[in-house]
Symmetry: C2
Subunit: 379 residues, 2 copies
Amino acid sequence: MDSRPDSALQLRSTVTPEGTLELTLARVPVAQPQANEVVVRVEASPINPSDLGLLLAGADVSTAVASTREDLPLLSATIDERVLRALSGRLGVSMPVGNEGAGTVIAAGTSDAAEALIGRTVSIAGGAMYSQFRVVDASQCLVLAEGTPPRLGASSFVNPLTALGMVETMRREGHTALVHTAAASNLGQMLVRLCLEENVALVNIVRRPEQEELLRSLGAQYVCDSSSSSFMGDLVDAVGETSATLAFDATGGGSLASQILTAMESAATASDAPYSRYGSNTHKQVYIYGGLDRGPTVLTRNFGFAWGVGGWLLTPFLQQVGPEKFASLRQRVADGLTTTFSSTYSREISLREALDPEVVAIYARQATGEKFLIAPNAP
Amino acid sequence: MDSRPDSALQLRSTVTPEGTLELTLARVPVAQPQANEVVVRVEASPINPSDLGLLLAGADVSTAVASTREDLPLLSATIDERVLRALSGRLGVSMPVGNEGAGTVIAAGTSDAAEALIGRTVSIAGGAMYSQFRVVDASQCLVLAEGTPPRLGASSFVNPLTALGMVETMRREGHTALVHTAAASNLGQMLVRLCLEENVALVNIVRRPEQEELLRSLGAQYVCDSSSSSFMGDLVDAVGETSATLAFDATGGGSLASQILTAMESAATASDAPYSRYGSNTHKQVYIYGGLDRGPTVLTRNFGFAWGVGGWLLTPFLQQVGPEKFASLRQRVADGLTTTFSSTYSREISLREALDPEVVAIYARQATGEKFLIAPNAP
């Protein structure tokens, strides 16, 4: 039973040389699968912060207007000239979007491995997931337990592996506890559950009191609210109690990374160490893995000389750990999709809705608690 | 012939709990040397940027006033309340100053190793070098060629080993070329000569046109003047030609580290690489090893995710490379004191002059080309 259509819709993002973002739905062919390939009907694909850079290209979404082109929806928005300069590599190129998703295998090539997947729910991190159908190699599929609703497997790559990557990086670099910012996000909630399982002390930094409650309800022991007047003191206390010397920061801009380093240095020198004009010898590290705040990172260097701030990305991390470790991490995610690595979504939208200016305005905000799931085959 | 006095003068820096910096000359005992110790009459000790933190404690030197206490000179200056908070570890403690220096061995203990040094010129990095006499273990002495004037050996530790440490760090971390800021300093000039010897491409960033001329006269190939309107373009070109992906920054504050990372990223993506929203995969690193600009470090993150900024200090580097490597680096300095590792000074001052507000105002500026040498036994 091959229900593969000849063509299907796929979301595309294009930046014109004149500085306009165009989101369109393209009709693309759905190829006949090669021997080891399968055809997946994509049922659910999340909008992650890591998708938004490619999707929206830094456009000013308040300028977004809807129209149609060749009977298909078109969204246009203006890109600031300064932002445009960094996009020279993609001008005029129509790019598919969507890092990860899940769906049902509806057709397969002739190999046993491919045929065995027919009817199964699979997760894929193949890119171009904001598509109605994807043809991928059978080995790319993470096969979920029989009967798993695709929605449950939509986010089985980016967030779960990032949470696992943070704990793994902590161990590899000789730290024993973690600080995490934007900690009430889906990823942050996973990290709370994972650190409880792994017995790793975790300092969660959130931006609102109700987020603190949410994390405490999951069992989080250390939660610091950056909107509180006692934030800096709370952070120094929590970092001191946990001896955390590694932080992962999703915000990037502003002074948060600097405040974390200051708190770590304060904890490192709280003991009766002799005065050193160079600060403590304790190495303090902040990895910036997102850019919720696109402003500059401002470091007030009152934390000695034993410190580092740098970028962290999932893909180079996975390359670094190698294929065997990668496979074991992936299987761990599959086993924990309804527990440790479960995700929640505030809204499910169709491909057409993903191009609606009012909907774009919401998901572009990247507000914690507003997590969207695209259902590419929804009407 | 033991010409050791019972006591001698030593410069001391004290921060009072009320927030006043006091520079004084203390009369301290000159101990009888133990078996393996020598007594060194200190003839020359430089004022390095790395001494100023301990010496001046961030005081506002424009408030400095001179007086006397117990017939010895006293300089007092005000410390801002915000600065004072970071100094709690040294309140009320009278601290000796001066990382390094050179002098003549005028007395020794009974061991052969100690006795052999009598009359020799030695360099020491023993701290408390702004003293007329220092008693140290013979093994701490770097013995210079017979008849070397002490002035030539005064700066044989901090700057030469830092220059060697930068090149060594470059090799250990897999980079092949360097960027250096405040490059017209004594250290910067050493690095130019060292990189020529080692055939390492070096991009020098200076702040004035005449500094560019100075470095070019030493043979520097790449010099970028940050006061020039073409600076950013010049930097992108130089970084592109050298493929430098590691920088050592003496300034720390402001946007220079960010500009360097931007130039490195621009060079890394100048080829026909496919567009990536995460930037290039080339790791770009800036180490901040000084704080000429005490303002915040401002990073405008337009250089992807493969980057790091962090502190770098000589002492942990030397601990990391181990004693054998340390000994070989030190001998290399001794062999090159009049060539690769030679220093120049704009002025030689006595201990009393080091406490003169007008003199302090000059050396506190840390202006390139104004390098002071203290001669503790000058009248």
